[in-house]
Amino acid sequence: MLTDTIDLDYGEGWEKVATFLPTESALTDIIDKQEEYEFVSIGGELVPKAGLKDFASSLKEQKEQICQSVANHFETILSAIPFPSRWKKEGIQEPTEECRRKALSVAEKIFLRFHIQPFRIASSIEEGLMLVYWDPSKSRSLKIEIYNSLSVAGLINENKTIVKSLNIISDDHIRELCRDFTG
């Protein structure tokens, strides 16, 4: 018997990939209240209290599988990005291995949190790599440039107008740009 609906917060965007992923503390909270509830409604799905932990584990496993396949995909692309021969002749440095690893880390973090994937990953004439995200419905792009020096900068452009730009020092800056891009 459904006695109540509990809203548990996981993080932005994951409702599209998995119905719901309760946090550890939320699960504990529900299980502690076992006397009060027989069923809980999670994302519109009725889950018996007894099976809540298994349900959460199954969703977590699905998420991990999706993340791993996306990470593998990013890694494949990043290992084989073309570098224009013209730039090589001009003495421009190719992206270093460290730069590629950092770009992979940034792309994975963005996917985990916002589940968006780059529209394009390219070598940069500034000696590094660029991740480009694109929203055609708003003619809006998010560009994140990772340099061989391992510094990172990002910019949002919409209808040929710069909306925002940041030197990316921490993950907070990545989240800020992505929230503005997806918002």
Partner: protein, 154 residues
């Protein structure tokens, strides 16, 4: 391919008198064009040290007369005003005296500083370390460029 006569130096002096509506031309390949955003790809625009031809002394098609230039290259342009975005840079006329690719119209966009006196010609090789502002500068060129000659598939 032989360089047209109007690009040869021909004993001409350096000219730093840019008009604001003069244009700077730059060659690009088809792979450097962002069809989705209808702009030049940001990752292909360099700053500083961006080389261009000056519209006062060159035509758009002259971009192919450069080392590593090819016939299928296109040309895009942007104004002197755009090159001075946020007072971060300014064009400097620097004719190239080269036996194979002389270019009287050659301009290099260089970093300017707030402390530069009026009329100061920035030296070559000045760095610009703020990555965010660099990206903005480059994106501004991409946003405000006009395709003069469309690049073709090589």
């Amino acid at each position: 391919m032989s360089v047209p006569e109007h690009l040869h130096i021909n004993d001409r002096e350096v000219d730093q008198n840019f008009d604001l509506d003069d244009l700077l031309y730059h060659g690009y390949s088809e792979a450097e064009y962002n069809f989705a955003e209808d702009t030049i790809r940001l990752e292909t625009i360099r700053f500083p040290g961006f080389s261009c031809n000056w519209s006062r002394y060159a035509d758009p098609e002259d971009v192919k007369y450069r080392m590593n230039g090819i016939d299928t290259d296109g040309c895009y342009s942007f104004s002197i005003v755009v090159s001075r975005f946020n007072n971060l840079a300014t064009p400097v006329h620097e004719p190239i005296e080269d036996a194979t690719y002389p270019n009287y119209s050659h301009v290099e966009v260089r970093v300017s500083r707030i402390t530069d006196p009026e009329g100061f010609i920035p030296p070559r090789g000045r760095n610009f370390n703020n990555k965010r502002r660099k990206m903005e500068y480059r994106q501004n060129i991409a946003n405000n460029s006009t395709i003069e000659i469309e690049a073709q598939t090589p």
